[in-house]
Symmetry: C2
Subunit: 179 residues, 2 copies
């Protein structure tokens, strides 16, 4: 791993944000630099975090983050309908359906027609699925802790508060939702 080039590309990217905001405001005066910077920062840090977790934790175990999210919901909520898994995990029903094809093939989840509603499908973790989620989540959270350590304890709480405020604000509520 070439540490110095990693730092270099990081700098490139950081200074590019400054440059981008400046030049954009210059050419498009109606642009608000604060919201531009906010969304840029949010997207960039999340994308780096997801990529890091996926490539250090999930892929090495042979699974993907999206698959992990489905297993996670099933672990916590217990067996339930695909529709509910979609809404709890924040994915579309189509995405859950496609993902469960993979998970079922790999023996982590079973699919059964629901008893009450014959349109619905009940999903349930297999024993292998249960083992997978428990062992993976420990590693996942260890890596999360490494990221979090950059902030002081009170900064962490402030950040969580602001993110949750953003998530329950007007824009989020009126935002287009996955179907």
């Amino acid at each position: 791993m070439p540490e110095e080039t990693t730092d270099q590309s990081n700098l490139d990217f950081l200074s590019f944000v400054d440059f981008a905001v400046g030049k954009t405001v210059d050419e498009l005066p109606e642009v608000d630099p604060v919201s531009m910077r906010l969304v840029l920062a949010l997207h960039r840090v999340t994308s780096a975090l997801v990529y890091d977790l996926e490539s250090t934790v999930h892929r090495p175990s042979g699974w993907s983050w999206p698959g992990f999210r489905v297993l996670f919901v099933l672990w916590l909520a217990g067996p339930c309908e695909a529709k509910r898994v979609a809404s709890l995990s924040g994915m579309s029903r189509s995405a859950v359906s496609a993902l469960v094809n993979t998970l079922e093939r790999d023996g982590l989840v079973t699919r059964r027609p629901s008893a009450g509603d014959r349109r619905a499908v009940d999903l349930e973790l297999t024993d292998a699925g249960h083992d997978a989620i428990v062992s993976t989540y420990s590693a996942h959270n260890k890596r999360e802790q490494t990221w979090t350590e950059t902030l002081t304890p009170s900064e962490r709480l402030v950040l969580i508060g602001l993110l949750e405020k953003l998530a329950s604000g007007t824009a989020a509520r009126e935002a287009v939702k996955r179907s």
Copy 2:
């Protein structure tokens, strides 16, 4: 659009986070609830934001957010090598290469062998590409402003500061980077 079911699913999801943190800490004592909640909130709000911007701004214009990011970099940085576009946009070289296939097909970008280094490829915005990025970015930022309005002006600055601190912290620097 059924407003009440939208709110309902939002509540489902919000309360699920509380439930998930509680139950996970119960079963896996080594898990740190703060970093769990931080990453959950970060991922969730970003994913909602990206989905919203993509479906209200980019798809209706006929393009995708990833394509937009490439056009954006080319607009700001001017014509440059694919490698540089990748590092400035935070994408892998493979992803840029694949994406430019689409952008070139749609007449937004041109690909030319570089003068100095015969391995490299220079990318440049066409006139259509330039028009696309300028008109799309105005709409994009308007929507960003709607999201940002949920926070007070000083909260916005605090949030940006914390996100940028997270992005330049140890974990981010040592994180696996896209190749």
